[in-house]
């Protein structure tokens, strides 16, 4: 009977990425050289998963450019991980909507799987210690103010 009840706990023990847990490290090819998450320890990282086929990403890129230029000097680093299966699709998107932040390419999808991505686009805010602070799925103009508030909060906590 005890064994039966303890088996019921098994789903609860499965790993689900949530706020407070450490962000899994990764090394991915970037636009110029490799992008490794642990290189950015000490900075607040805004990790965004995007794709050329994702409609809201056309709007999220200008906003992320704005955030990078506004808070980059305060210690914010935005990393956009592309999950397109074909690199040409990603390059075409970037020629239409240029990015002023780091871009990494993950065609195999290992990183979104490790980060338990539930929708596209998804963004995670990782604090200076390397732990996930805030997870946000989707992108809407109305929600940008609240996401920006989370970024500011994380930067203040990092003491910058």
């Amino acid at each position: 009977m005890k064994l039966f009840y303890s088996l019921l706990l098994v789903p609860a023990l499965s790993f689900a990425l949530e706020a407070g847990k450490p962000a899994p490290d990764f090394t991915l090819p970037g636009a110029s050289g490799d992008v490794k998450l642990s290189d950015f320890k000490g900075k607040v990282v805004y990790l965004d998963f995007w794709a050329s086929w994702c409609g809201p990403c056309h709007k999220s890129f200008p906003w992320m450019n704005e955030m990078q230029s506004k808070y980059g000097s305060k210690g914010l680093q935005i990393i956009g991980v592309n999950v397109d299966q074909k690199r040409e699709d990603a390059d075409k998107f970037l020629s239409q909507v240029p990015a002023k932040f780091a871009i990494a390419f993950d065609a195999k999808g290992a990183t979104p799987k490790a980060y338990d991505v539930k929708g596209m686009p998804s963004a995670l805010l990782i604090d200076a210690a390397g732990n996930v602070q805030y997870i946000h799925a989707g992108f809407k103009e109305e929600e940008t103010a609240s996401v920006e508030a989370h970024i500011k909060q994380a930067l203040e906590k990092a003491g910058k």
Partner: protein, 73 residues
């Protein structure tokens, strides 16, 4: 006797077929997001047809989520 049992277990395992594989993950929906993959050819036309169904049944809903199969919403 064990051979029969093993065969039976193998058949049971295959019974589920391809349904045992996970579906398209949220980051794998590139092909589903293509316009040709949408369920209706003209969104305005299907809005019109839905309105006719709703008024004939005097009920509404159950017609699915707008925005496409990319799961962006």
């Amino acid at each position: 006797m064990p051979l029969k049992l093993v065969t039976a277990l193998c058949i049971l395992a295959f019974l589920e077929g391809c349904a045992s594989f996970p579906g398209a993950q949220p980051w794998e929906r590139g092909n589903l997001a293509k316009p040709i993959m949408s369920l209706d050819t003209d969104s305005l036309d299907s809005r019109f047809v839905t309105h006719i169904y709703d008024s004939k049944e005097s009920s509404s809903g159950g017609m699915g989520v707008g925005g496409g199969g990319c799961g962006c919403n």
